[in-house]
């Protein structure tokens, strides 16, 4: 036992206590953690210089030009922006609920998201300084577009945008049900925030005019069409709480990714160190001190601690985030326990195969063909678990959560879902997983013992089976 721990410690130390690993596992996420707010801050403060230039309007409807001339003036734009800011908070709240229930009122949600996007655009950048050129209603579009190709040293003389409004944008043509619209022609690489500002202004002006002509009170209309959307309230034994339905997808998804990452990391390192030990011929020196089984178990345990550490580091970061946002209500501590159990099952299964492959080949290049089926199994298990996020109790999900190597992934998703499986299913899955892990270790031990001292032609699966019989 002592020797297994020595091997495990060396395995852990040589992998995790290296600059490369510490940088990759800790420093890099830490840098990201620092950079994210910084990027956010820079975004908030990266106000683009005000767009200065001329907006040419061809108003074929003959009704909008004066209104647009007024509303596209810098002062008017600034006033509109203040109004948008006030609406933003409420809209965000509504849109969040809409996103969480995409099936219910999808169109409405998309519209509101557009509004938010528009508002955010409005918030960014200085107020554009437009000068308006109202062209003849029958002006030639080609000639107008020519303005966009002309350069000028004086920015105020440069035409940024040509706006062509359809003749039926405000009043429908006789016999037609639909209104016309407008087209915006811009210089290449015009700031999208500038065109966005113009678009919103034009759309609002068109709507306002349409309301007026229809004899409707536009403010009243807005009040009528707006329904405040409140968050779904979950009724628990302790009382009611706001439902964060998105969390019900994010948590299992995060758990799945963490599990995959931990298993992959540990398994990959195990393969690499085993191949290294074999190719550097140090393995027989080790076998003079420890038995092949002690060596294999030591290595599996060592890399398990590496994978588990990595998973726990990221889980802790996730927990800190949950605490920070007061979302711990959604955390079932028992789930964390299950997460560790299923990590161990998944890891031991994959690591056993990695150890067997590592012992069988002479160098990493040779490991690729043997690794392919193992990696495929792991990737299938990972991706096939995602549909279980939406249908955790579907018969196929229940079946997958019992069949290794899918079971650790699918079962964890089901546990963290809105419809957790009955406890007996969880423990049955654990039992089956333990049996599968034991079988994997048995297989690996046989191959490991023979493979470690075999050099020369890399084996195929048939050879591995022969070794198992031989051992």
């Amino acid at each position: 036992m002592n020797k297994i721990l020595h091997v495990a410690y060396r395995e852990f130390a040589s992998t995790a206590l290296t600059k490369g690993f510490i940088f990759g596992a800790l420093v890099l996420p830490a840098i990201f953690a620092v950079l994210m707010p910084l990027i956010g801050f820079l975004f908030d403060n990266a106000k683009a210089p005000a767009d200065v230039g001329r907006v040419a309007i061809i108003d074929r409807s003959q009704m909008l030009a004066p209104m647009l001339d007024e509303r596209l003036q810098p002062e008017a734009l600034a006033a509109a922006r203040r109004g948008s800011t006030q609406q933003l908070t409420e809209q965000m709240k509504d849109a969040q609920n809409a996103v969480q229930n995409p099936d219910q009122e999808g169109e409405d949600a998309t519209q509101q998201l557009d509004t938010i996007a528009g508002a955010v655009d409005t918030l960014l950048g200085e107020t554009p300084q437009f000068s308006i050129d109202i062209l003849d209603t029958d002006a030639n579009l080609e000639e107008a577009q020519q303005r966009l190709r002309q350069e000028s040293d004086d920015e105020t003389q440069r035409t940024l945008v040509v706006l062509e409004i359809d003749n039926n944008a405000v009043v429908r043509n006789e016999g037609e049900l639909d209104y016309g619209s407008y087209t915006l022609f811009a210089r290449p690489k015009t700031d999208p925030r500038t065109t966005g500002t113009i678009e919103r202004t034009v759309e609002r002006a068109i709507k306002d005019l349409r309301y007026d002509l229809a004899g409707m009170d536009k403010e009243e209309l807005r009040r009528i069409t707006r329904v405040e959307r409140r968050q779904v309230q979950e009724v628990t034994e302790k009382g009611t709480r706001s439902s964060k339905q998105a969390m019900q997808f994010i948590l299992p998804g995060a758990v799945l990714v963490l599990l995959f990452m931990g298993v992959m990391t540990g398994g990959q390192y195990l393969l690499t160190t085993t191949v290294e030990e074999k190719s550097s011929r140090v393995v027989e020196v080790l076998l003079s001190a420890v038995s092949p089984m002690e060596l294999m178990f030591g290595k599996i345990v060592g890399q398990m601690i590496v994978g588990l550490s990595l998973t726990l580091i990221y889980t802790s970061l996730g927990l800190v985030a949950l605490f920070a946002f007061a979302l711990t209500d959604f955390l079932e501590w028992l789930d964390l326990f299950y997460m560790v159990i299923f990590f161990l099952i998944a890891y031991v299964m994959i690591a056993s195969f990695m150890a067997a492959i590592g012992s069988a080949v002479n160098e990493m290049r040779e490991a690729q063909s043997l690794m392919a089926p193992v990696m495929m199994g792991l990737i299938f298990a990972f991706y096939l678990s995602f549909p279980a996020l939406l249908s955790p109790s579907a018969p196929w999900a229940v079946a997958l959560s019992m069949i290794p190597p899918f079971s650790p992934f699918t079962m964890l998703v089901r546990i963290a879902s809105t419809e957790p499986p009955p406890t007996w299913q969880i423990w049955l899955s654990i039992l089956i997983g333990i049996i599968a892990a034991y079988a994997s270790v048995w297989f690996a031990a046989k191959v490991f013992r023979v493979g470690l001292l075999m050099y020369g032609k890399p084996p195929n699966f048939r050879t591995l089976i022969k070794w198992i019989r031989m051992a």
Partner: protein
Amino acid sequence: MSDAIHMKGVRKTFGPKVAVQGIDLAIPQGSMYGFIGPNGAGKTTTIRMIMSILFPDAGELSVLGKKSAVESKDRIGYLPEERGVYRKMKVRTFLEHMGKLKGMSSESQLKKSVNEWLERVELEEAANKKCEELSKGMQQKIQFISCVLHKPDLLILDEPFSGLDPVNMRLLRDLIKEQNDSGVTVIFSTHVMQQAESICDHIVMIHQGEKVLDDTIQAIRESHDPRSVLYTPANGSFNHDALTSIAGVRSITSSERGHEALLDDDADQMGVLRSIVAGYDIVGAELRRPTLEDVFIEIVRGDSEQDAETIRRSLTEEVAS
């Protein structure tokens, strides 16, 4: 005194290939045994079975009184033929790691022992270097230290001299002798017979998986006495055939060893030697002592002529390399 190693009818196969067939062997404690034989003879497989790295298909095996080396690994030092080090690991860390794996629990004792051994092999300055920075010979010395650091009762060295220059070869030979003098049972394998001859007091010869010889050096020499006199004529016009007139001289032969007078089985060797020295124009003469190579070739020649040639070539190539 009980045997350090006891083998009875030990057999090992790899698929259709029989690597070791029915070896019986008893190695007393404190002895120095040499396993000799050409490459592929089964020496390493035998040693790996002794070390419980491989397990026999049939037969009995005990090591230091235990049924398997697994139970007494901490009392054994093993330098395998396929040896290596952790390339990126520092020399001191490697030795300490191996010491711990060999059951050395006292940290201070381990450090002290590592320092002493590094000093002995004049590698104290390499302690904090990475193993990959050392030459092959230096690495081999480090590997030897890892075998003896924990003061084993049994030392098994598989081809310990391969890749060493003459100076380091002598140093290693002295260290091995020193271990044996202090009571450690030493087994080492080699395909270079001269090395075995110069260091061992007992030889086990393995050929095609079978033990073909198991005796002391002295007994081997006596039982395989070639009964011939090597001589060096004073000039090129020497009449070799004249020697056949001496009583007891059967024939004269010339080979890469030189000129040789082959004697009858009942001839008086010393009498013939004296007659050659006294009556002929020669600058030197001696009774030929059998080398292990001669013995080995003589034994395999019994199997088939082709085998003997193959072995001779293999041995010559290995010695040259």
